[in-house]
C-alpha cells in the first residue's frame, strides 16, 4: 500500500512538472488512435454492409432439363459437399414461367402464344449469410458450373468482385494505420520518457543515493506511460464518436445510410482499443526506462 501511494505520488508529481511534453504526447497518441479507429470503423461497417448484401445473395444454376427427384437429391448432396448453404430451392420451368408472368404484371399478354416451358429449370442456391461466403462465391460458382447438366451459373459477379477488392483495400489500410498507431505510440512515449529522464537526472541520482529500489524508480514511468495510453485512446475515441455522430446527423435520411446502418464500435471493441493503447504505451515506457536507466 505504501509502495503504491509512493508510486502514484511520484507519477502525479512528474505529470505536473512535465505537463507540456506530456500534452504533446497525449495529442499524438490521440491522433494515432483516431486515425486507426476511423479506418477500423469504416472497415467494420463495410463488413456489416457486406453481410447485409449477402442476405439477398443467391446463385442461380440453370439446368438443361427438368431434374427428376433422385437427380434433385444428387444435386443437393453435391452442393452440400462443397459448402454449407442456407437453402437450396429447385425451380421447374413451369414455376419459372409463373414467376415471370407475375413479374410482368399488366404486360402479361406478351407471353401469349409462348410455350409454358420455354424458360429453363434452375436450382437457386442461397449461401450462408456471412462475408466469408461472399468471398468464396466465385469458387462456389466455378464448382457448380462443373456439375452435370448445368447450362450456366448466374450471380452478381461484377458487384461482388468490386466489393471484395474494396474490403481487401480496407483491410490493408486498417493494418497500416494499426502499424502507425504502434509506431507513434511507442516512439512518442519512449521519447517523452527520455526527455523526462534527462530533465530528472539529478533527482534519479539522488533517489539512487537514498537507496530507492529499481521498482520505485521505474514504476512511476511505467504508470505514466500507461496513463498516457489510456488518456490518449479515450480522447481519440471520443473525438471519433463526435465525428461519427456528426456524420450520422448530417447525412440522416440519405440513401446510403438508409441502406446500410452506420454503427459505432461495440463496447468490447472500444475496451480492446483502450487496452491495446494502454499496453503499448506502458511497454514503450518500460523498455525506454530500462534501456536508459540500465535497471
Amino acid at each position: 500500500m505504501n509502495f503504491l501511494r509512493a508510486i502514484v505520488g511520484q507519477t502525479l508529481r512528474n505529470l505536473r512538472q512535465t505537463w507540456s511534453s506530456q500534452l504533446v504526447t497525449l495529442l499524438t497518441i490521440s491522433l494515432s488512435v483516431l486515425i486507426f479507429s476511423f479506418f477500423f470503423l469504416v472497415y467494420i461497417n463495410v463488413l456489416n454492409a457486406g453481410r447485409q448484401l449477402g442476405d439477398n445473395l443467391r446463385l442461380i444454376v440453370y439446368l438443361d432439363e427438368e431434374p427428376s427427384k433422385p437427380l434433385q437429391e444428387e444435386y443437393r448432396q453435391k452442393i452440400l459437399k462443397f459448402d454449407r448453404v442456407e437453402k437450396i430451392e429447385f425451380v421447374s420451368s413451369q414455376q419459372a414461367y409463373e414467376r415471370f408472368r407475375k413479374q410482368l404484371g399488366h404486360d402479361q399478354d406478351v407471353l401469349e402464344g409462348m410455350p409454358r416451358d420455354f424458360l429453363p429449370p434452375s436450382i437457386e442456391v442461397y449461401p450462408i449469410r456471412s462475408l466469408s461466403s461472399l468471398t468464396r462465391i466465385k469458387r462456389f460458382s466455378d464448382y457448380l458450373q462443373t456439375l452435370p447438366g448445368v447450362l450456366k451459373v448466374q450471380y452478381g459477379r461484377e458487384w461482388i468482385d468490386r466489393f471484395y477488392s474494396f474490403v481487401k483495400l480496407m483491410r490493408v489500410v486498417v493494418i497500416l494505420s494499426g502499424m502507425l498507431l504502434i509506431l507513434t505510440t511507442t516512439f512518442m512515449v519512449a521519447h517523452t520518457i527520455r526527455l523526462t529522464l534527462c530533465s530528472r537526472e539529478r533527482e534519479l541520482e539522488l533517489l539512487r543515493l537514498l537507496g530507492a529500489s529499481n521498482h520505485y524508480i521505474r514504476a512511476p514511468f511505467f504508470l505514466e506511460g500507461a496513463l498516457q495510453g489510456l488518456a490518449g485512446s479515450v480522447c481519440g475515441l471520443v473525438a471519433l464518436y463526435v465525428f461519427f455522430d456528426w456524420i450520422r446527423l448530417r447525412f440522416a435520411g440519405s440513401a446510403m445510410l438508409n441502406l446500410f446502418p452506420f454503427t459505432f464500435f461495440p463496447v468490447p471493441v472500444i475496451l480492446a482499443i483502450v487496452a491495446a493503447s494502454t499496453l503499448l504505451c506502458a511497454s514503450g515506457s518500460f523498455s525506454s526506462t530500462r534501456r536508459i536507466l540500465r535497471l
Partner: protein, 244 residues
C-alpha cells in the same frame, strides 16, 4: 564477506582513491568507527573529507582497500543489498542535493518514501524535523526559494528523516549562524543518543572544542589525530593491532 562485530559500524582498511589525472584524494586510509559514536573529521579543503564520506555511502568506489559499513563490504554490494544499506545511511551533502522545484516537505519525505514508510509517519516526522530546525513555516515552500542556510538545514533534515543507523554530514554548519548551528548539533546529539553513528566532516573547530568526541584530521589524503600530532591516526592504530 567477513562478518564483523556488530559494534563496528564503519571499517576502512588501507583505502586509497585517486582522481584523474593524479589527484590523490585518499592514501592508505584506515579508520574504524564504532556504532553509536560521533566522530568529527576535519582538515583543509581538498584534504579528502568529502571523498571519504562518499566512499561510505558508495557514492564513490575506492581504487584500493576495503570499505565496510555495518559489516558489509561495499565493493561486493550491488542491487537490492546496496539499496537496503543506503536506506540505513543518511547523508547531508555539502551541495545539499535538494530538488529545487519540490517543496521542503517533499524533499524531506523522499528519504522516507524510498523506504516505503507510512504516509502518516512521513507527515509527522517531516513536521517534527522542521519544527526542531525552526523551518515549520517553510513546509510547502519550494526548496529552490530558500536561502542557503535554510537549504542546508533541509538537507540535514532529509539525512535524519529515516532514523538512519549511520549519519554522514559534509560541512553541515558551513552556512549557519551560531544559534542555528546549536540547533543542528542538538539534533545530531539526539540521534547519537538514539544509537546512531555520526560522522561529521567540518572546518568549524567550535563543534568539537568540548573534547567529548573523537576528532580525526585528514591532511593531503592521510589521517591524523590532531591531539597526537606525531601519530597518523587510525592508520597506526591498525598497524599496532596487526603486529600484536
Amino acid at each position: 564477506m567477513t562478518a564483523k562485530s556488530p559494534e563496528i559500524m564503519v571499517d576502512l582498511i588501507k583505502v586509497s582513491k585517486t582522481y584523474p589525472p593524479r589527484v590523490h584524494a585518499l592514501v592508505d586510509v584506515s579508520l574504524t568507527v564504532h556504532a553509536g559514536e560521533m566522530l568529527f573529521l576535519t582538515g583543509m579543503s581538498g584534504a579528502g573529507k568529502t571523498t571519504l564520506l562518499r566512499l561510505l555511502c558508495r557514492g564513490e568506489t575506492p581504487d584500493k582497500g576495503l570499505v565496510e559499513v555495518a559489516g558489509q563490504d561495499l565493493d561486493r554490494l550491488s542491487g537490492s543489498g546496496l539499496q537496503q544499506l543506503r536506506r540505513r545511511i543518511g547523508m547531508a551533502y555539502q551541495d545539499f542535493k535538494l530538488l529545487p522545484r519540490h517543496t521542503v516537505a517533499e524533499n524531506i519525505a523522499l528519504a522516507m518514501e524510498v523506504a516505503y514508510r507510512k504516509r502518516s509517519f512521513i507527515r509527522k516526522r517531516t513536521r517534527e524535523l522542521l519544527e526542531k530546525l525552526r523551518l515549520a513555516d517553510k513546509y510547502a515552500t519550494p526548496a529552490g526559494e530558500l536561502s542557503r542556510g535554510e537549504q542546508q538545514r533541509i538537507s540535514i533534515a532529509r539525512a535524519l528523516a529515516n532514523m538512519p543507523d549511520l549519519v554522514l554530514a559534509d560541512e553541515p554548519t558551513g552556512n549557519l549562524d551560531r544559534e542555528t548551528t546549536a540547533l543542528v548539533m542538538d539534533l545530531f546529539r539526539e540521534h547519537e543518543e538514539r544509537g546512531a553513528t555520526i560522522i561529521i566532516a567540518t572546518h568549524d573547530r567550535e563543534l568539537f572544542s568540548d573534547g567529548s568526541h573523537r576528532v580525526i584530521e585528514l591532511t593531503a589524503g592521510q589521517l591524523r589525530s590532531p591531539e597526537e600530532p606525531g601519530r597518523t591516526g587510525e592508520q597506526s592504530l591498525h598497524n599496532e593491532e596487526a603486529s600484536q
